[in-house]
C-alpha cells in the first residue's frame, strides 16, 4: 500500500558542486576563482615587493640570526642567560617572562575579580557600591594608562634604596622593587619538602576517603584537623628532626643596592598590578553575571531540602554558575596574556620588549622576528580556544538541551 522508505539517490554531481562552490554552485566556484585570484594577486604583490625591497638593501632573510650571540643583557631572566647567549635564547627568555607575568596576573586577577564580584553581590549596600565604583573606574580607563600610572607615579613616590621602607628588617620596599630574603637550601630541605609533599598527597587522599565514606557508609568525617596536622605538623616534625630546611639570607644594603635577598623588580610589580586589577574588573562582571544567572529558585530549592547555605552554594549554585563563567573567563585570561605585551612601555623584558624590541633593532630581521612574536601569541590563543570548544561541547552534552 504505502510507499516504502528508500535510500536517497547519490546525486554525486550535485554534491561535488556543493563541496566546491557551496550553495551557490558553479557561481560560487566562479566567485571563489575571482576571490582566489585577487588574494593571489595581493600575495604576489606583497611578496614581490618585500623581496625587491629586501634585495635592494641586501638584507639576508632567514632565521640564521637566531644562532648569533645577542651581546646585550636582560634584567630579569627565568633561565640562565648572559650577553654571550644567542638570540634564540633571548626569544626563550622573552616567552618565559611573558608567561611569568601572565600566570601571576591571571592568579591575582582571578582572586581580585572574585572578591570584587562578591562585594558587588553582597547585601551590604556600602560594600556593593564600593565594588561598583571599582569596576566602573577601572573599566573606563585605558590599560596602558593604568600600567604607566602604577609605574611612573608609584615609582616616583617610592623611596631610594637607602631610605627603604623596611618590614622587620627582612623585607624592603624601595624604587628598586620589593626585596625579600632569599632562601638557601640546607640539608634539612629534602626531608622537609618530602614531608610537605607527603602531607599534601595524604590530605588529598583523606579528602577522597571522606567523600567515599560519606557516599559509602553515610559517615561524616571532619577532615580539617587531620589535614592541619598533615600539612603543618609533619613538616614541623622534620624540622625538629633534621634541622631547618632553609636559612634565609637577609638583604643587606651594600653599595648602591641591596645584596643578598631576592628582588622583584618594579616593572614586574607595576605590570602585574596593572594587568590584574584591570582584568579583575572584567572578571568581576563575568562572575557576577554568572552567579546572577543561577535562578533564585535553585537556592530556595536547596534550602528547602535542608541543605546548609554553604552546601547549597558549593553543590548547586557554583557548578551552574561556572558553566556561564568559564568561557568568558578564558577570554579574559587570553586578553591578559595579550595585554602583557604592553610591558614594552615600561621596560619589563617580555617577549615584545626584548625580542620584538631589542633583538629586532640589533639584528634588523623585522619580518622574521615579528612573525615569530605574533606566532607565539596566535598559538596560545588557538590552543586555548580549541580547549574551550571541547569544554563547551562537553557542557552542552551534559545539559542535554
Amino acid at each position: 500500500m504505502g510507499v516504502e522508505a528508500r535510500k536517497p539517490p547519490p546525486q554525486i554531481a550535485l554534491k561535488v558542486r556543493r563541496a566546491l562552490g557551496g550553495k551557490a554552485g558553479w557561481n560560487g566556484v566562479a566567485v571563489q576563482l575571482v576571490f582566489g585570484a585577487i588574494l593571489a594577486w595581493m600575495a604576489y604583490e606583497i611578496i614581490s615587493n618585500a623581496r625587491t625591497n629586501l634585495e635592494t638593501q641586501h638584507i639576508a632573510a632567514g632565521f640564521g640570526f637566531l644562532q648569533n650571540s645577542a651581546s646585550f643583557d636582560v634584567n630579569q631572566t627565568l633561565i640562565s642567560y648572559s650577553a654571550s647567549d644567542t638570540y634564540f635564547r633571548v626569544f626563550l627568555v622573552g616567552v618565559l617572562n611573558t608567561l611569568l607575568v601572565s600566570v601571576i596576573g591571571i592568579f591575582f586577577a582571578t582572586v581580585i575579580g572574585f572578591v570584587v564580584a562578591l562585594c558587588r553581590l553582597s547585601p551590604n549596600w556600602l560594600l556593593s557600591r564600593v565594588g561598583g565604583l571599582y569596576v566602573e573606574a577601572i573599566r573606563n580607563l585605558p590599560l596602558l594608562f593604568q600600567i604607566l600610572f602604577w609605574y611612573l607615579a608609584v615609582l616616583a613616590a617610592l623611596p631610594s634604596p637607602r631610605q627603604s621602607v623596611s618590614v622587620l628588617g627582612a623585607f624592603f620596599l624601595n624604587n628598586r622593587g620589593v626585596i625579600v630574603p632569599s632562601a638557601l637550601g640546607q640539608p634539612g630541605l629534602v626531608p622537609f619538602l618530602a614531608a610537605l609533599a607527603l602531607g599534601l598527597v595524604a590530605s588529598l587522599a583523606l579528602r577522597s576517603y571522606a567523600k567515599r565514606a560519606l557516599f559509602g557508609q553515610g559517615r561524616v568525617i571532619r577532615i580539617w584537623p587531620y589535614v592541619l596536622i598533615l600539612l603543618v605538623g609533619l613538616p614541623l616534625a622534620t624540622i625538629l628532626a633534621f634541622g631547618p630546611p632553609v636559612t634565609f639570607e637577609l638583604p643587606q644594603l651594600k653599595g648602591f643596592n641591596f645584596a643578598g635577598g631576592t628582588r622583584i623588580i618594579p616593572e614586574l610589580v607595576a605590570l602585574t598590578v596593572g594587568l590584574s586589577t584591570y582584568t579583575a574588573a572584567f572578571i568581576a562582571e563575568i562572575v557576577r553575571a554568572g552567579i546572577l544567572s543561577v535562578h533564585k529558585g535553585q537556592m530556595e530549592a536547596g534550602s528547602s531540602l535542608g541543605l546548609s547555605r554553604g552546601a547549597t552554594l558549593r553543590l548547586i549554585v557554583v557548578p551552574q554558575a561556572m558553566r556561564v563563567i568559564v568561557p568568558p573567563l578564558t577570554n579574559q585570561y587570553l586578553n591578559l596574556t595579550k595585554n602583557s605585551s604592553l610591558a614594552v612601555a615600561i621596560g619589563y623584558p617580555d617577549l615584545v620588549s626584548v625580542f620584538a624590541g631589542t633583538a629586532l633593532s640589533q639584528t634588523g630581521q623585522a619580518i622574521e622576528i615579528i612573525a615569530m612574536t605574533m606566532g607565539v601569541y596566535l598559538l596560545t590563543s588557538l590552543v586555548t580556544s580549541a580547549i574551550m570548544s571541547v569544554y563547551g561541547w562537553r557542557i552542552s552534552r551534559s545539559l542535554g538541551a
Binding site: 560519606l214 557516599f215 559509602g216 557508609q217 553515610g218 559517615r219 561524616v220 535562578h295 529558585g297 535553585q298 530556595e300 530549592a301 534550602s303 528547602s304 531540602l305 535542608g306 541543605l307 546548609s308 552546601a311 553543590l315 548547586i316 557548578p319 551552574q320 558553566r323 551534559s398 545539559l399 542535554g400 538541551a401
Partner: protein, 245 residues
C-alpha cells in the same frame, strides 16, 4: 484527627511597608490535606514559604512537629528537614541527573550512604512512575515529568508535611493530570499536605479542608463540599463565581 503537626498562630508579615500576611491562625493535623486558594497576590505563596522558613516574618509563631519557628528563625534547619516543598517552576538542579537530584539531600543532609540513597530514590521515582528516566538530565524531560521528579525529590527526605505552591500552573494542560494523579496517590497514602492550587477538581477530590485567602487573611475555611456548595463570605462567592465559570 489528633494533635496539630503545623500550628500557625497570630502570623503577621510585612514586605517593607506592605502588610502581606495578617493575623493568620491555622492548625494542620497529621494526615490532613489542605488546599489554599485565593486571588493572585493574596499571600498564599508567602504563607506557605513562611512555613518552610524561606521567608522571615515579623510577628506570630509557627510550630512544625513541635519545633518552634519564632520571628528569629531559630531551628530553621530542623524544620526544613521535616517539611518537603514543591515549587511552581520545579526548580530541579539542571546540572545533575534525575537520580542525583534525588540523592543529593539524603547524602549531604542526612548522611545516608549513596547506595541506600539511590535505592530510596529509585523507590520514589517508581512511585511517580519515571524510574527509567533516572539517568536523564532535567532538561531532557517534559514539564510534567520534571514536576513529578520534584515531588520524588522532596519525598526522599521523608518529610512529615508536604507543601505545594501551584505545582501545576506552569504545565501544559496535558501534563496537569499526570502531576495531579501523583498528588492524589500521595494523599491516599496519608501524607499531610498543604497545597496552593486553583485546580478545584483536585480540591473536591482530595482536600479535607479548603482555605480561602484574600488580602493576606484567611477569609473562609471549610470542607470542600460545603465550601463549594455554600460559600459564606461575599468575597469567596465572588472568587468562586469567577473561577468556576
Amino acid at each position: 484527627m489528633s494533635d496539630p503537626i503545623v500550628k500557625i498562630s497570630g502570623l503577621n508579615k510585612w514586605y517593607g511597608e506592605f502588610h502581606v500576611l495578617r493575623d493568620i491562625d491555622l492548625d494542620v493535623t497529621k494526615g490532613e490535606r489542605i488546599v489554599i486558594c485565593g486571588p493572585s497576590g493574596s499571600g498564599k505563596s508567602t504563607l506557605i514559604r513562611c512555613i518552610n522558613a524561606l521567608e522571615e516574618f515579623q510577628e506570630g509563631e509557627i510550630v512544625v512537629d513541635g519545633i518552634e519557628l519564632g520571628p528569629n528563625l531559630k531551628h530553621v534547619d530542623a524544620v526544613r528537614r521535616e517539611v518537603g516543598m514543591v515549587f511552581q517552576s520545579f526548580n530541579l538542579f539542571p546540572h545533575l541527573t534525575v537520580l542525583d537530584n534525588c540523592t543529593l539531600a539524603p547524602i549531604w543532609v542526612r548522611n545516608i550512604p549513596k547506595k541506600d540513597a539511590e535505592a530510596t530514590a529509585m523507590k520514589f521515582l517508581e512511585r511517580v512512575k519515571i524510574p527509567h528516566q533516572a539517568n536523564k538530565f532535567p532538561g531532557q524531560m517534559s514539564g510534567g515529568q520534571q514536576q513529578r521528579v520534584a515531588i520524588a525529590r522532596a519525598l526522599t527526605m521523608n518529610p512529615k508535611v508536604m507543601l505545594f505552591d501551584e505545582p501545576t500552573s506552569a504545565l501544559d494542560p496535558e501534563m496537569v493530570k499526570e502531576v495531579l494523579d501523583t498528588m492524589v496517590d500521595l494523599a491516599e497514602e496519608g501524607m499531610t499536605m498543604l497545597v496552593v492550587t486553583h485546580e478545584m477538581g483536585f480540591a473536591k477530590e482530595v482536600a479535607n479542608r479548603v482555605v480561602f485567602m484574600d488580602a493576606g487573611q484567611i477569609i473562609e475555611a471549610n470542607t470542600p463540599n460545603e465550601f463549594f456548595a455554600a460559600p459564606q463570605h461575599a468575597r469567596t462567592k465572588l472568587f468562586l463565581s469567577q473561577i468556576l465559570r
